[in-house]
């Protein structure tokens, strides 16, 4: 193998780095990525143009854009898009805000701070689907602890139909998702905050900067690259996170709490319509890809204008 690697000789006669060597080291990883990422994507793309229903395997054939058309024409499509936007924006806003506040508190040393950190990080270690089941029982209309507590404290006079009313059900799954995702922001923002040099903060303090001003004028700009990255990651992850919804409502009632990813799971597992599920997967991939490009361009333009 070594003999086949093209070698460069510098003008001074010394052997340079082998410029192809990194490629050789990358090959195993590239092969794995090709097998586990690109092949499934291409297979999905191929399947998305097929009538491919597991309960009717005698009639598998290419059907053009039929799967895509049916998705866009589906009675629930607009509601599912609305839900997805709501699910991502509301969850992200509260996860970020609460996560930031908790991270600020946890940064300062206090008694049992390590214990608090451990408790806050627990949700991230648990299965999303399992958490969905737990929240399902918390929100249960008849037997749920939440309704029970609110009834006993006279906050409500009759049980709230948390999971049987579409609007309440959407609120319930978002609340559960906020709880689940706060931890991620705490972990990441806390790590970023701990990287802010003390010298800068001390200098700001000497210059008469209040704590609030120091936060917004010093700390936030300093950790901004981290914040941009984690917000982008969370948008993608929240969009692709059907676990809690499946655990709590399975997308019901009447498919009114589906987001795109939970709808996709339903198409693959319950409807066994792999063609339509693949088409939906491809649509999601496209939407997230376009979003990511715009997001990164926008943040880069903003940085350049500030620079």
């Amino acid at each position: 193998m070594a003999a086949s690697i093209h070698k460069l000789v510098r003008k001074d006669g010394k052997k340079s780095h082998n410029i192809l060597a990194p490629l050789w080291f990358l090959i195993p990883a590239l092969i794995l990525v090709a097998i586990f990422i690109y092949y499934p994507v291409f297979a999905t793309a191929n399947m998305s143009f097929k009538n491919y229903k597991l309960f009717d395997q005698g009639h598998i054939f290419y059907n053009g854009f039929t799967n895509f058309r049916e998705i866009f024409k589906d009675l629930h499509f607009h509601r599912i898009i609305q839900n997805t936007v709501l699910w991502v924006t509301v969850s992200l806003f509260f996860q970020f805000t609460i996560g930031f506040i908790l991270a600020l508190y946890l940064k300062s040393k206090f008694r049992f701070s390590g214990l608090y950190q451990g408790i806050i990080f627990i949700p991230w270690a648990l299965s999303g689907f399992l958490m969905g089941l737990v929240w399902k029982w918390i929100f249960d209309d008849s037997l749920g602890v939440l309704n029970d507590m609110m009834l006993k404290t006279h906050l409500i006079s009759k049980p709230i139909p948390w999971l049987s009313n579409p609007n309440w059900a959407m609120a319930a799954v978002i609340i559960a998702n906020i709880w689940y995702g706060v931890t991620f922001f705490v972990i990441m923002i806390l790590a970023a905050l701990q990287g802010v040099p003390h010298e800068i903060l001390e200098a700001a303090e000497l210059d008469g900067c209040s704590k609030a001003k120091a936060l917004f004028l010093v700390i936030v700009p300093y950790i901004r690259p981290t914040l941009i990255l984690i917000v982008l990651l969370r948008i993608i992850w929240i969009t692709n996170f059907p676990d809690i919804i499946f655990g709590m409502t399975s997308g019901g009632p009447n498919e009114q709490t589906h987001i795109l990813s939970s709808w996709l799971v339903q198409k693959i597992t319950y409807d066994q319509d792999w063609g339509s599920g693949s088409a939906l997967g491809l649509i999601m991939l496209g939407v997230l890809f376009i979003f990511t490009i715009f997001y990164l361009l926008a943040t880069r333009l903003e940085e350049e204008s500030e620079g």
């Binding site: 229903k53 597991l54 309960f55 009717d56 395997q57 005698g58 009675l75 249960d140 209309d141 008849s142 037997l143 009759k158 049980p159 139909p161 999971l163 049987s164 009313n165 579409p166 409502t249 399975s250 019901g252 009632p253 009447n254 498919e255 009114q256 693959i268 597992t269 319950y270 409807d271 066994q272 319509d273």
Partner: protein, 453 residues
Amino acid sequence: MIKQLATRKSAAVLTTVALALSVLTMGSSSAATDATWNCAPTKAKPVTVRLIEYFAGPARTPLLNAYARQFESKNPGVKVEIISPSQADSPAKITQLLQAKNVDIVEPAGAILGQAMSAKQIANIYPYFSKTKGWAGLTDYSKFQATLFGKNTTYMVPNGYYTKSAFVRPGALTAVPAILAKIKAGTATWQDIYDAKSTNTATSSMYAMRGARASFTQAVFIIRAYNAPDLNSGGYWNKSTKTSMFNNPKSKDALDLMMKIWHDASPAASVAWGYPEMVQGFIDGTANYLIQDNEVIQMVEDKYAPFTSGKWFLAQMPKGPTGYSAQDVSGGGWSVAQSSKCKNIAANFVDFLTTDPQASIFARAYGVGPVTKTASTDPFFKTGAWAIFDKIGKDPKELKLDGSDVAQTCYGEFFTQADKDMQAMYAGSLTTTDALKSWATFWDTKCINPYKK
């Protein structure tokens, strides 16, 4: 008990209905001579047999695993792996494993049997299995079910029967003594169940509705009760008109009543209830009237109260205006995958599971109707809570359907669509008229009409 449920007349119809499926799979009947039927595992060259359950649960999965270990000890070189997905996931998981050709034995309940046969994914094991001890011990009705798709063909060996009855909490119905008396006598109608809504409280309702997966079965219960006895042996066609029962105007009356029961007599949360939630709803008293299969007896006894406590009893399903009801008396079973590389070993394990005492212990532990001659004479299945099934078996006004329509290939698609329609009806975004029209069109155009073959 089950023997009485069999109707020999239906055999001819069944054979006709399943003709297309049988033709598709006939080629596999000569498979007994191929290499996949001649595996000879040794300790040096072991074989693994993978079995996937449809109805995994605490009452049966440990038992199946124990049987697997017993079988392994009797057959050196054989390893049996039991796969036990949750019941919500099992249809998809079984289908995927069959598709991936990565399983030896499946339990193809519900819509899976028809679709797997259509895709030639399960093997005809009759030539091999009919010579086994397990086959010899089956009841006549079990043999009838095992050969449902034609003479000398066995695509599924029954492992238990599921008969539906009503689980009732009498303490909650004391305000409606007349209805309670009719429920006990087995003469209550669906209208009576609706009228018992007067017993609803803030935290407890009359009827345990099903809103999640398989919710359409609720509609089918009541529609059949309104159509019986004018039903074919599979239970989806009217004998008189030779068209789908969903065309019958009586079906609209039935479905309208079911929607009233949903709105006025069921817990709001039941819109999301599947099998476990329905059972739990009955156990915790959120609902006082639950229609479910026999295996639920054990769960209610374990989690609520013993049958002898009198806190609950079993009754026949509600009748329609004609005094009839109807239900499928079929169930799960074991099928050997066509892709199995060691069909003889897989069939041997099915034989082991089907032979007594294994089959009888399984039936008692899991609470399903027995498939073997020995177990069917066991007093256990005729006394206590189980006495109701003897009564159902003897009642000519409760039609026992054979599951042939459920085994049709089209059923899987109907299952998916009808479930969505039920949710839409619960939410008020689909009328019963439109739902019935859609279902009638589906059955009349996409399924095999037994009267038009």
